[in-house]
Amino acid sequence: MYAIEAQNLTYTYGIKTPFEKTAIRDVSVQIPAGEFVGVIGHTGSGKSTLIQHINGLLRPTSGKLLLNGKDIWENPKEIRKVRFSAGLVFQYPEHQLFETTVYKDIAFGPTNMGLSEEEVRLRVEEAAEFTGISSALMDQSPFELSGGQKRRVAIAGVIAMRPEVLILDEPTAGLDPRGRDKILDRLRRYHQAQKNTVLLVSHSMEDVAEYCTSALVMNRGTLFAYDTVENVFCRTEELEQMGLAIPAITQVFHRLAAAGIPVSRNVFTMDAAKQALSAALEGRGRNA
Protein backbone atom coordinates (compact mmCIF):
# COMPACT_ATOMS: atom_id res chain seq x y z
CA MET A 1 0.00 0.00 0.00
CA TYR A 2 1.23 3.48 -0.87
CA ALA A 3 0.70 6.78 0.91
CA ILE A 4 -0.25 8.40 -2.39
CA GLU A 5 -1.14 6.67 -5.60
CA ALA A 6 -2.33 8.20 -8.88
CA GLN A 7 -3.91 5.85 -11.41
CA ASN A 8 -4.13 7.15 -14.97
CA LEU A 9 -4.96 10.59 -13.64
CA THR A 10 -6.14 13.10 -16.25
CA TYR A 11 -7.45 16.60 -15.59
CA THR A 12 -9.01 19.01 -18.06
CA TYR A 13 -9.79 22.62 -17.11
CA GLY A 14 -12.96 24.28 -18.43
CA ILE A 15 -14.44 21.28 -20.22
CA LYS A 16 -16.69 22.37 -23.13
CA THR A 17 -15.68 26.01 -22.80
CA PRO A 18 -13.34 27.97 -25.07
CA PHE A 19 -10.73 27.59 -22.30
CA GLU A 20 -10.70 23.80 -22.38
CA LYS A 21 -7.20 22.64 -21.53
CA THR A 22 -5.94 19.23 -20.50
CA ALA A 23 -3.31 20.10 -17.91
CA ILE A 24 -2.26 16.59 -16.88
CA ARG A 25 -2.68 13.41 -18.85
CA ASP A 26 -2.61 9.79 -17.77
CA VAL A 27 -0.35 10.23 -14.76
CA SER A 28 0.32 7.03 -12.81
CA VAL A 29 2.68 7.10 -9.84
CA GLN A 30 3.08 5.35 -6.49
CA ILE A 31 4.61 7.20 -3.57
CA PRO A 32 5.47 5.16 -0.45
CA ALA A 33 4.79 6.63 3.00
CA GLY A 34 7.62 8.64 4.54
CA GLU A 35 9.10 9.98 1.32
CA PHE A 36 10.24 13.58 0.99
CA VAL A 37 9.40 14.14 -2.67
CA GLY A 38 10.69 17.02 -4.76
CA VAL A 39 8.22 17.88 -7.53
CA ILE A 40 9.93 19.61 -10.44
CA GLY A 41 8.94 20.57 -13.98
CA HIS A 42 8.90 23.51 -16.36
CA THR A 43 6.45 26.39 -16.08
CA GLY A 44 2.97 25.10 -16.95
CA SER A 45 4.01 21.43 -16.83
CA GLY A 46 1.14 20.52 -14.48
CA LYS A 47 2.75 20.46 -11.03
CA SER A 48 0.11 22.57 -9.28
CA THR A 49 -2.71 20.76 -11.05
CA LEU A 50 -1.33 17.36 -9.99
CA ILE A 51 -0.83 18.19 -6.33
CA GLN A 52 -4.24 19.84 -5.98
CA HIS A 53 -5.68 16.38 -6.56
CA ILE A 54 -3.97 14.98 -3.50
CA ASN A 55 -6.08 16.94 -1.02
CA GLY A 56 -9.21 16.70 -3.13
CA LEU A 57 -9.22 20.31 -4.29
CA LEU A 58 -9.52 19.11 -7.87
CA ARG A 59 -11.49 16.06 -8.90
CA PRO A 60 -9.96 13.91 -11.63
CA THR A 61 -11.57 14.19 -15.07
CA SER A 62 -10.65 10.55 -15.37
CA GLY A 63 -8.49 8.17 -13.36
CA LYS A 64 -8.13 7.92 -9.59
CA LEU A 65 -6.26 9.35 -6.66
CA LEU A 66 -5.72 7.03 -3.67
CA LEU A 67 -4.54 7.98 -0.18
CA ASN A 68 -3.41 5.00 1.88
CA GLY A 69 -4.97 2.74 -0.71
CA LYS A 70 -8.38 4.41 -0.57
CA ASP A 71 -9.95 6.28 -3.49
CA ILE A 72 -10.55 9.74 -2.03
CA TRP A 73 -13.63 10.29 -4.24
CA GLU A 74 -15.27 6.98 -3.28
CA ASN A 75 -17.61 8.96 -1.07
CA PRO A 76 -17.58 12.60 -2.22
CA LYS A 77 -19.33 13.71 0.98
CA GLU A 78 -16.23 12.77 2.95
CA ILE A 79 -13.87 14.89 0.90
CA ARG A 80 -13.59 17.47 3.69
CA LYS A 81 -11.85 14.88 5.85
CA VAL A 82 -9.19 14.48 3.20
CA ARG A 83 -8.34 18.17 3.57
CA PHE A 84 -7.36 17.59 7.21
CA SER A 85 -5.09 14.64 6.52
CA ALA A 86 -3.48 16.13 3.40
CA GLY A 87 -2.52 19.77 3.98
CA LEU A 88 -1.72 22.03 1.03
CA VAL A 89 0.23 25.27 1.07
CA PHE A 90 -0.80 27.20 -2.07
CA GLN A 91 1.59 28.62 -4.62
CA TYR A 92 0.30 32.14 -3.84
CA PRO A 93 -0.02 32.84 -0.13
CA GLU A 94 -2.65 35.49 -0.96
CA HIS A 95 -4.98 32.68 -2.00
CA GLN A 96 -4.82 31.29 1.48
CA LEU A 97 -4.80 34.27 3.82
CA PHE A 98 -8.10 35.85 4.77
CA GLU A 99 -8.33 36.42 8.52
CA THR A 100 -7.94 39.79 10.25
CA THR A 101 -4.80 38.90 12.19
CA VAL A 102 -1.83 36.62 11.65
CA TYR A 103 -2.73 34.68 14.80
CA LYS A 104 -6.29 34.00 13.63
CA ASP A 105 -5.04 32.96 10.23
CA ILE A 106 -2.69 30.33 11.62
CA ALA A 107 -5.35 29.21 14.12
CA PHE A 108 -8.02 28.71 11.45
CA GLY A 109 -7.11 25.15 10.47
CA PRO A 110 -6.60 23.68 13.95
CA THR A 111 -9.77 25.45 15.20
CA ASN A 112 -11.79 23.86 12.41
CA MET A 113 -10.37 20.48 13.36
CA GLY A 114 -12.23 20.89 16.65
CA LEU A 115 -9.16 21.19 18.88
CA SER A 116 -9.40 22.89 22.28
CA GLU A 117 -8.48 26.56 22.54
CA GLU A 118 -5.42 25.65 24.58
CA GLU A 119 -4.22 23.10 22.02
CA VAL A 120 -4.85 25.58 19.20
CA ARG A 121 -2.72 28.18 21.00
CA LEU A 122 0.13 25.69 21.42
CA ARG A 123 0.01 24.73 17.79
CA VAL A 124 -0.05 28.32 16.59
CA GLU A 125 3.00 29.16 18.69
CA GLU A 126 4.82 26.09 17.49
CA ALA A 127 4.01 26.79 13.84
CA ALA A 128 5.07 30.43 14.16
CA GLU A 129 8.38 29.35 15.63
CA PHE A 130 8.77 26.76 12.87
CA THR A 131 8.39 29.37 10.16
CA GLY A 132 10.23 32.22 11.89
CA ILE A 133 7.27 34.55 12.51
CA SER A 134 8.07 36.89 15.38
CA SER A 135 5.46 37.42 18.09
CA ALA A 136 5.38 41.12 17.15
CA LEU A 137 3.61 40.19 13.91
CA MET A 138 0.86 38.07 15.53
CA ASP A 139 -1.69 40.87 15.85
CA GLN A 140 -0.94 42.44 12.50
CA SER A 141 -3.17 41.95 9.48
CA PRO A 142 -1.73 39.29 7.16
CA PHE A 143 -2.32 41.69 4.27
CA GLU A 144 0.05 44.26 5.75
CA LEU A 145 3.08 42.01 5.61
CA SER A 146 5.98 41.74 3.22
CA GLY A 147 5.83 39.01 0.55
CA GLY A 148 8.11 36.65 2.45
CA GLN A 149 6.26 37.23 5.72
CA LYS A 150 2.94 36.33 4.06
CA ARG A 151 4.53 33.17 2.72
CA ARG A 152 5.61 32.19 6.24
CA VAL A 153 2.10 32.72 7.63
CA ALA A 154 0.62 30.56 4.86
CA ILE A 155 3.07 27.76 5.64
CA ALA A 156 2.43 28.07 9.38
CA GLY A 157 -1.33 27.73 8.87
CA VAL A 158 -0.89 24.31 7.31
CA ILE A 159 1.91 23.13 9.63
CA ALA A 160 -0.40 23.89 12.59
CA MET A 161 -2.74 21.17 11.34
CA ARG A 162 0.08 18.58 11.47
CA PRO A 163 -1.20 16.78 8.38
CA GLU A 164 -0.22 13.22 7.58
CA VAL A 165 0.62 14.30 4.04
CA LEU A 166 2.12 17.75 3.68
CA ILE A 167 2.11 19.37 0.24
CA LEU A 168 3.92 22.65 -0.37
CA ASP A 169 3.63 24.45 -3.73
CA GLU A 170 6.83 26.49 -4.20
CA PRO A 171 6.99 27.36 -0.49
CA THR A 172 10.44 28.91 -0.70
CA ALA A 173 9.63 31.35 -3.53
CA GLY A 174 10.15 34.77 -1.97
CA LEU A 175 11.82 33.54 1.21
CA ASP A 176 15.20 35.01 2.06
CA PRO A 177 18.06 32.46 2.06
CA ARG A 178 18.22 32.10 5.84
CA GLY A 179 14.45 31.66 6.07
CA ARG A 180 14.54 29.13 3.25
CA ASP A 181 17.27 27.04 4.89
CA LYS A 182 15.66 27.24 8.30
CA ILE A 183 12.21 26.24 7.09
CA LEU A 184 13.55 23.41 4.94
CA ASP A 185 15.66 22.15 7.86
CA ARG A 186 12.65 22.22 10.13
CA LEU A 187 10.59 20.44 7.48
CA ARG A 188 13.17 17.72 7.23
CA ARG A 189 13.25 17.24 11.00
CA TYR A 190 9.44 17.25 11.17
CA HIS A 191 9.34 14.71 8.38
CA GLN A 192 11.90 12.47 10.10
CA ALA A 193 10.15 12.69 13.48
CA GLN A 194 6.57 12.23 12.25
CA LYS A 195 7.41 9.80 9.43
CA ASN A 196 4.86 11.63 7.32
CA THR A 197 4.98 12.13 3.57
CA VAL A 198 6.06 15.51 2.21
CA LEU A 199 5.75 16.85 -1.34
CA LEU A 200 7.76 19.94 -2.13
CA VAL A 201 7.16 21.69 -5.46
CA SER A 202 10.25 23.70 -6.30
CA HIS A 203 12.17 25.37 -9.10
CA SER A 204 15.35 25.22 -7.03
CA MET A 205 17.29 22.16 -8.10
CA GLU A 206 19.71 22.89 -5.24
CA ASP A 207 16.94 22.61 -2.64
CA VAL A 208 15.55 19.41 -4.14
CA ALA A 209 19.03 17.82 -4.17
CA GLU A 210 19.74 18.98 -0.64
CA TYR A 211 16.49 17.97 1.08
CA CYS A 212 14.47 15.45 -0.90
CA THR A 213 14.69 11.65 -0.96
CA SER A 214 12.98 11.27 -4.32
CA ALA A 215 12.04 13.46 -7.25
CA LEU A 216 8.92 13.54 -9.38
CA VAL A 217 9.42 15.22 -12.75
CA MET A 218 6.49 16.57 -14.77
CA ASN A 219 6.93 17.46 -18.44
CA ARG A 220 4.15 18.87 -20.66
CA GLY A 221 1.41 17.44 -18.50
CA THR A 222 2.81 13.93 -18.26
CA LEU A 223 4.99 12.17 -15.73
CA PHE A 224 8.56 12.11 -16.98
CA ALA A 225 10.13 10.31 -14.03
CA TYR A 226 9.63 9.35 -10.42
CA ASP A 227 12.94 8.15 -9.02
CA THR A 228 15.66 8.82 -6.46
CA VAL A 229 17.13 12.32 -6.54
CA GLU A 230 20.48 10.89 -7.69
CA ASN A 231 18.98 9.00 -10.61
CA VAL A 232 16.99 12.02 -11.72
CA PHE A 233 19.92 14.44 -11.61
CA CYS A 234 22.06 12.03 -13.62
CA ARG A 235 19.80 12.77 -16.60
CA THR A 236 21.39 16.16 -17.26
CA GLU A 237 20.68 16.52 -20.97
CA GLU A 238 17.03 15.51 -20.73
CA LEU A 239 16.44 17.87 -17.81
CA GLU A 240 18.04 20.77 -19.64
CA GLN A 241 15.97 20.06 -22.74
CA MET A 242 12.77 20.43 -20.74
CA GLY A 243 13.83 23.76 -19.22
CA LEU A 244 15.22 22.40 -15.96
CA ALA A 245 18.80 22.23 -14.73
CA ILE A 246 21.15 20.41 -12.40
CA PRO A 247 22.38 22.02 -9.16
CA ALA A 248 25.17 24.61 -9.55
CA ILE A 249 27.51 22.50 -7.45
CA THR A 250 26.94 19.52 -9.79
CA GLN A 251 27.84 21.77 -12.73
CA VAL A 252 31.16 22.55 -11.03
CA PHE A 253 31.90 18.83 -10.64
CA HIS A 254 31.00 18.12 -14.26
CA ARG A 255 33.64 20.67 -15.26
CA LEU A 256 36.22 19.29 -12.85
CA ALA A 257 35.70 15.74 -14.07
CA ALA A 258 35.89 16.91 -17.68
CA ALA A 259 39.22 18.59 -16.88
CA GLY A 260 40.58 15.22 -15.78
CA ILE A 261 40.45 15.82 -12.04
CA PRO A 262 39.70 12.58 -10.16
CA VAL A 263 36.21 13.42 -8.84
CA SER A 264 32.80 11.98 -9.65
CA ARG A 265 30.37 13.95 -11.83
CA ASN A 266 27.55 12.87 -9.56
CA VAL A 267 27.91 15.27 -6.67
CA PHE A 268 24.58 16.87 -5.80
CA THR A 269 24.90 18.47 -2.35
CA MET A 270 27.33 20.80 -0.58
CA ASP A 271 28.25 18.11 1.95
CA ALA A 272 29.01 15.61 -0.78
CA ALA A 273 31.04 18.25 -2.60
CA LYS A 274 33.18 18.94 0.46
CA GLN A 275 33.77 15.24 1.08
CA ALA A 276 34.66 14.60 -2.55
CA LEU A 277 37.10 17.49 -2.66
CA SER A 278 38.70 16.55 0.67
CA ALA A 279 39.33 13.05 -0.67
CA ALA A 280 40.66 14.29 -3.99
CA LEU A 281 42.98 16.77 -2.28
CA GLU A 282 44.39 14.06 -0.03
CA GLY A 283 44.91 11.82 -3.04
CA ARG A 284 46.78 14.68 -4.65
CA GLY A 285 49.14 14.80 -1.64
CA ARG A 286 49.88 11.06 -1.87
CA ASN A 287 50.51 10.99 -5.59
CA ALA A 288 52.87 13.95 -5.56
Partner: protein, 303 residues
Protein backbone atom coordinates in the same frame (compact mmCIF):
# COMPACT_ATOMS: atom_id res chain seq x y z
CA UNK B 1 11.33 69.64 -15.82
CA UNK B 2 14.56 71.51 -16.45
CA UNK B 3 13.89 73.47 -13.33
CA UNK B 4 13.63 70.38 -11.22
CA UNK B 5 16.87 68.97 -12.55
CA UNK B 6 18.51 72.20 -11.63
CA UNK B 7 16.95 71.95 -8.20
CA UNK B 8 18.47 68.53 -7.72
CA UNK B 9 21.86 69.65 -8.86
CA UNK B 10 21.66 72.54 -6.47
CA UNK B 11 20.38 70.34 -3.71
CA UNK B 12 23.07 67.77 -4.22
CA UNK B 13 25.85 70.22 -4.67
CA UNK B 14 24.82 71.69 -1.37
CA UNK B 15 24.59 68.31 0.28
CA UNK B 16 27.81 66.95 -1.11
CA UNK B 17 29.97 69.63 -2.67
CA UNK B 18 32.17 68.43 -5.49
CA UNK B 19 29.76 65.77 -6.70
CA UNK B 20 28.05 68.04 -9.15
CA UNK B 21 28.83 66.02 -12.26
CA UNK B 22 27.65 62.78 -10.73
CA UNK B 23 24.23 64.32 -10.21
CA UNK B 24 23.60 64.65 -13.93
CA UNK B 25 23.89 60.91 -14.53
CA UNK B 26 21.87 59.90 -11.49
CA UNK B 27 18.55 58.41 -12.39
CA UNK B 28 17.25 57.54 -8.94
CA UNK B 29 18.39 59.50 -5.97
CA UNK B 30 17.19 58.91 -2.41
CA UNK B 31 18.20 61.50 0.15
CA UNK B 32 17.73 60.52 3.81
CA UNK B 33 14.58 58.67 2.84
CA UNK B 34 12.44 57.44 5.72
CA UNK B 35 9.09 55.72 5.63
CA UNK B 36 6.47 54.39 7.99
CA UNK B 37 3.18 52.72 7.01
CA UNK B 38 1.41 54.39 9.93
CA UNK B 39 1.04 58.05 10.62
CA UNK B 40 1.83 57.84 14.34
CA UNK B 41 5.04 59.03 15.95
CA UNK B 42 5.64 55.64 17.63
CA UNK B 43 5.10 53.67 14.42
CA UNK B 44 7.95 51.45 13.20
CA UNK B 45 10.18 52.99 10.57
CA UNK B 46 10.34 50.62 7.63
CA UNK B 47 12.95 52.72 5.82
CA UNK B 48 15.45 54.56 7.99
CA UNK B 49 17.39 57.41 6.52
CA UNK B 50 18.23 55.67 3.26
CA UNK B 51 20.55 57.54 0.90
CA UNK B 52 21.21 55.88 -2.39
CA UNK B 53 21.74 56.80 -5.97
CA UNK B 54 21.38 54.74 -9.09
CA UNK B 55 23.20 55.84 -12.18
CA UNK B 56 21.34 56.12 -15.45
CA UNK B 57 21.77 52.97 -17.52
CA UNK B 58 23.11 50.85 -14.68
CA UNK B 59 21.93 47.45 -13.48
CA UNK B 60 21.49 47.32 -9.72
CA UNK B 61 20.42 44.29 -7.67
CA UNK B 62 18.78 44.82 -4.27
CA UNK B 63 19.07 42.07 -1.67
CA UNK B 64 17.82 41.82 1.89
CA UNK B 65 15.99 39.62 4.37
CA UNK B 66 12.20 39.30 4.37
CA UNK B 67 10.71 42.52 5.67
CA UNK B 68 13.93 44.51 5.23
CA UNK B 69 12.12 47.14 3.14
CA UNK B 70 12.98 46.24 -0.46
CA UNK B 71 9.42 46.39 -1.85
CA UNK B 72 8.71 49.50 0.18
CA UNK B 73 11.72 51.21 -1.38
CA UNK B 74 10.71 50.02 -4.86
CA UNK B 75 7.19 51.43 -4.44
CA UNK B 76 8.72 54.86 -3.80
CA UNK B 77 10.38 54.76 -7.21
CA UNK B 78 7.01 54.45 -8.91
CA UNK B 79 5.30 56.92 -6.54
CA UNK B 80 2.97 54.34 -5.07
CA UNK B 81 4.36 55.44 -1.73
CA UNK B 82 5.64 58.86 -0.71
CA UNK B 83 8.49 59.47 1.75
CA UNK B 84 7.57 60.17 5.38
CA UNK B 85 10.93 61.94 5.66
CA UNK B 86 13.68 62.93 3.23
CA UNK B 87 13.08 62.78 -0.50
CA UNK B 88 13.33 60.68 -3.59
CA UNK B 89 14.17 62.02 -7.03
CA UNK B 90 13.49 60.14 -10.25
CA UNK B 91 15.39 61.51 -13.20
CA UNK B 92 15.61 64.79 -11.35
CA UNK B 93 11.92 64.91 -10.44
CA UNK B 94 10.91 65.11 -6.79
CA UNK B 95 8.34 62.33 -6.32
CA UNK B 96 6.49 64.30 -3.66
CA UNK B 97 5.42 66.95 -6.17
CA UNK B 98 2.14 65.83 -7.74
CA UNK B 99 2.93 67.54 -11.05
CA UNK B 100 5.60 64.88 -11.72
CA UNK B 101 3.43 61.85 -11.04
CA UNK B 102 2.33 61.22 -14.64
CA UNK B 103 5.78 61.71 -16.12
CA UNK B 104 7.47 59.44 -13.55
CA UNK B 105 4.92 56.65 -14.04
CA UNK B 106 5.58 56.81 -17.80
CA UNK B 107 9.31 56.54 -17.32
CA UNK B 108 9.48 53.94 -14.58
CA UNK B 109 7.84 50.56 -15.11
CA UNK B 110 7.27 48.32 -12.14
CA UNK B 111 6.83 44.54 -12.01
CA UNK B 112 5.18 43.75 -8.69
CA UNK B 113 6.12 40.93 -6.37
CA UNK B 114 2.78 39.20 -6.91
CA UNK B 115 1.66 39.16 -10.56
CA UNK B 116 -1.97 38.75 -9.45
CA UNK B 117 -1.87 42.37 -8.31
CA UNK B 118 -0.79 43.46 -11.74
CA UNK B 119 -2.96 41.49 -14.15
CA UNK B 120 -6.01 43.60 -14.96
CA UNK B 121 -7.63 42.43 -18.20
CA UNK B 122 -9.46 39.21 -19.07
CA UNK B 123 -7.34 38.46 -22.13
CA UNK B 124 -3.54 38.28 -22.11
CA UNK B 125 -3.12 40.56 -25.14
CA UNK B 126 -5.32 43.27 -23.63
CA UNK B 127 -3.46 43.01 -20.39
CA UNK B 128 -0.13 43.70 -22.05
CA UNK B 129 -1.68 46.56 -24.06
CA UNK B 130 -3.12 48.20 -20.94
CA UNK B 131 -0.23 50.46 -19.95
CA UNK B 132 0.74 51.66 -23.45
CA UNK B 133 -2.97 52.37 -24.11
CA UNK B 134 -3.12 54.52 -21.00
CA UNK B 135 -0.01 56.30 -22.14
CA UNK B 136 -1.70 57.26 -25.40
CA UNK B 137 0.49 55.15 -27.69
CA UNK B 138 -1.14 54.86 -31.18
CA UNK B 139 -3.00 51.54 -31.80
CA UNK B 140 -0.69 50.39 -34.58
CA UNK B 141 2.35 50.86 -32.38
CA UNK B 142 0.58 49.15 -29.45
CA UNK B 143 -0.05 46.04 -31.54
CA UNK B 144 3.62 45.94 -32.50
CA UNK B 145 4.81 46.37 -28.91
CA UNK B 146 2.41 43.76 -27.54
CA UNK B 147 3.64 41.16 -30.00
CA UNK B 148 7.26 42.04 -29.34
CA UNK B 149 6.81 41.89 -25.55
CA UNK B 150 4.89 38.61 -25.61
CA UNK B 151 7.44 37.01 -27.90
CA UNK B 152 10.26 38.23 -25.66
CA UNK B 153 8.81 36.38 -22.66
CA UNK B 154 7.82 33.35 -24.75
CA UNK B 155 4.06 33.81 -24.25
CA UNK B 156 2.86 34.84 -27.74
CA UNK B 157 1.02 31.53 -28.13
CA UNK B 158 -1.01 32.38 -25.03
CA UNK B 159 -2.15 35.82 -26.31
CA UNK B 160 -5.85 35.00 -26.31
CA UNK B 161 -5.85 33.11 -23.00
CA UNK B 162 -7.31 34.45 -19.77
CA UNK B 163 -4.52 35.59 -17.41
CA UNK B 164 -6.18 34.16 -14.30
CA UNK B 165 -6.30 30.73 -15.93
CA UNK B 166 -2.55 30.46 -16.30
CA UNK B 167 0.04 28.72 -14.16
CA UNK B 168 2.07 30.75 -11.63
CA UNK B 169 5.13 31.10 -13.82
CA UNK B 170 3.04 31.96 -16.89
CA UNK B 171 1.37 34.83 -14.97
CA UNK B 172 4.77 36.08 -13.95
CA UNK B 173 5.86 36.21 -17.59
CA UNK B 174 2.73 38.16 -18.61
CA UNK B 175 3.34 40.72 -15.86
CA UNK B 176 6.87 41.25 -17.19
CA UNK B 177 5.60 41.59 -20.78
CA UNK B 178 3.11 44.26 -19.64
CA UNK B 179 5.91 46.43 -18.36
CA UNK B 180 8.23 45.79 -21.33
CA UNK B 181 5.46 47.04 -23.66
CA UNK B 182 5.65 50.45 -21.94
CA UNK B 183 9.21 50.85 -23.21
CA UNK B 184 10.18 52.42 -19.90
CA UNK B 185 13.47 54.25 -19.28
CA UNK B 186 13.79 52.39 -16.01
CA UNK B 187 12.35 49.07 -14.93
CA UNK B 188 11.94 48.06 -11.31
CA UNK B 189 11.45 44.32 -10.92
CA UNK B 190 10.34 42.96 -7.55
CA UNK B 191 11.36 39.28 -7.50
CA UNK B 192 10.29 38.71 -11.10
CA UNK B 193 11.72 35.21 -11.35
CA UNK B 194 10.57 33.79 -8.00
CA UNK B 195 8.31 31.25 -9.72
CA UNK B 196 10.06 30.59 -12.99
CA UNK B 197 11.79 27.37 -14.00
CA UNK B 198 15.58 27.51 -14.52
CA UNK B 199 15.29 28.19 -18.25
CA UNK B 200 12.63 30.85 -17.72
CA UNK B 201 14.83 32.58 -15.14
CA UNK B 202 17.76 32.53 -17.51
CA UNK B 203 15.66 33.91 -20.39
CA UNK B 204 14.12 36.71 -18.35
CA UNK B 205 17.53 37.68 -16.97
CA UNK B 206 19.04 37.65 -20.46
CA UNK B 207 16.21 39.85 -21.74
CA UNK B 208 16.63 42.53 -19.09
CA UNK B 209 20.40 42.46 -19.46
CA UNK B 210 19.99 42.90 -23.21
CA UNK B 211 17.57 45.83 -22.79
CA UNK B 212 19.98 47.34 -20.30
CA UNK B 213 22.90 46.99 -22.69
CA UNK B 214 21.20 47.87 -25.95
CA UNK B 215 18.62 50.49 -24.98
CA UNK B 216 20.39 51.78 -21.90
CA UNK B 217 17.38 50.92 -19.74
CA UNK B 218 18.13 51.42 -16.05
CA UNK B 219 17.35 48.20 -14.16
CA UNK B 220 16.61 47.71 -10.48
CA UNK B 221 16.23 44.04 -9.68
CA UNK B 222 15.04 42.85 -6.28
CA UNK B 223 15.88 39.20 -5.79
CA UNK B 224 16.58 36.41 -3.33
CA UNK B 225 18.64 34.54 -5.93
CA UNK B 226 22.28 35.28 -5.24
CA UNK B 227 23.40 34.13 -8.67
CA UNK B 228 21.14 36.76 -10.29
CA UNK B 229 22.63 39.46 -8.10
CA UNK B 230 26.10 38.26 -9.06
CA UNK B 231 25.40 39.31 -12.66
CA UNK B 232 24.50 42.93 -11.79
CA UNK B 233 26.82 45.95 -12.05
CA UNK B 234 26.15 46.71 -8.45
CA UNK B 235 24.62 45.04 -5.40
CA UNK B 236 22.82 46.90 -2.61
CA UNK B 237 22.09 44.98 0.60
CA UNK B 238 19.26 46.11 2.88
CA UNK B 239 18.87 45.12 6.52
CA UNK B 240 15.95 46.30 8.69
CA UNK B 241 15.31 49.41 6.63
CA UNK B 242 18.90 50.51 6.10
CA UNK B 243 21.51 49.91 3.43
CA UNK B 244 24.35 47.86 4.94
CA UNK B 245 26.43 47.10 1.86
CA UNK B 246 26.77 48.62 -1.57
CA UNK B 247 29.35 47.67 -4.17
CA UNK B 248 30.20 45.43 -7.09
CA UNK B 249 29.08 41.80 -6.76
CA UNK B 250 32.67 40.73 -6.17
CA UNK B 251 33.11 43.30 -3.39
CA UNK B 252 29.85 42.39 -1.71
CA UNK B 253 29.91 38.59 -2.01
CA UNK B 254 33.52 38.27 -0.87
CA UNK B 255 32.23 39.44 2.53
CA UNK B 256 30.74 36.04 3.21
CA UNK B 257 30.21 36.57 6.95
CA UNK B 258 28.52 39.95 6.50
CA UNK B 259 26.19 38.51 3.89
CA UNK B 260 25.26 35.59 6.15
CA UNK B 261 24.66 37.83 9.15
CA UNK B 262 22.15 39.78 7.03
CA UNK B 263 20.10 36.58 6.53
CA UNK B 264 21.43 36.08 3.03
CA UNK B 265 23.69 33.56 1.42
CA UNK B 266 26.39 33.37 -1.19
CA UNK B 267 26.09 31.25 -4.36
CA UNK B 268 27.01 27.54 -3.90
CA UNK B 269 30.10 28.18 -6.00
CA UNK B 270 31.34 30.97 -3.71
CA UNK B 271 30.49 28.84 -0.69
CA UNK B 272 32.67 25.98 -1.92
CA UNK B 273 35.66 28.20 -2.59
CA UNK B 274 35.16 29.98 0.75
CA UNK B 275 35.25 26.60 2.50
CA UNK B 276 38.49 25.63 0.74
CA UNK B 277 40.02 28.93 1.84
CA UNK B 278 38.90 28.94 5.45
CA UNK B 279 38.78 25.24 6.36
CA UNK B 280 41.56 23.92 4.17
CA UNK B 281 43.75 27.02 4.27
CA UNK B 282 44.16 27.02 0.50
CA UNK B 283 45.20 30.08 -1.43
CA UNK B 284 42.23 30.78 -3.71
CA UNK B 285 40.60 34.02 -4.90
CA UNK B 286 37.87 35.26 -2.51
CA UNK B 287 35.64 36.51 -5.29
CA UNK B 288 34.69 33.45 -7.36
CA UNK B 289 31.06 33.78 -8.42
CA UNK B 290 30.24 31.69 -11.48
CA UNK B 291 30.44 27.95 -12.08
CA UNK B 292 33.35 28.59 -14.46
CA UNK B 293 35.29 30.72 -11.98
CA UNK B 294 34.85 28.22 -9.16
CA UNK B 295 35.75 25.21 -11.32
CA UNK B 296 38.82 26.96 -12.73
CA UNK B 297 40.02 27.98 -9.28
CA UNK B 298 39.60 24.45 -7.90
CA UNK B 299 41.17 22.87 -10.99
CA UNK B 300 44.33 24.95 -10.44
CA UNK B 301 44.85 23.12 -7.14
CA UNK B 302 45.42 19.96 -9.11
CA UNK B 303 47.71 21.29 -11.80
Amino acid sequence: MHESILCVILYISMACPGERILALTEYIHAVNLSFSYQNEPEAPQVLKDVSLSVEKGSFVAVLGHNGSGKSTLAKHMNVILLPSGGSLFVNGMDTSLEEHLWEIRQQVGMVFQNPDNQLVATVVEEDVAFAPENMGVPPEEIRRRVEEALRTVGMWDFRDHAPHRLSGGQKQRIAIAGVLAMHPDCIVLDEPTAMLDPRGRREVLETIHRLNRESGMTVILITHYMDEAAQADRVVVMDSGTVIADGTPKEVFSQVELIRSAGLDVPQTTDLVHWLRTEKGLDLPADCLTVEEAADAVAKLFS
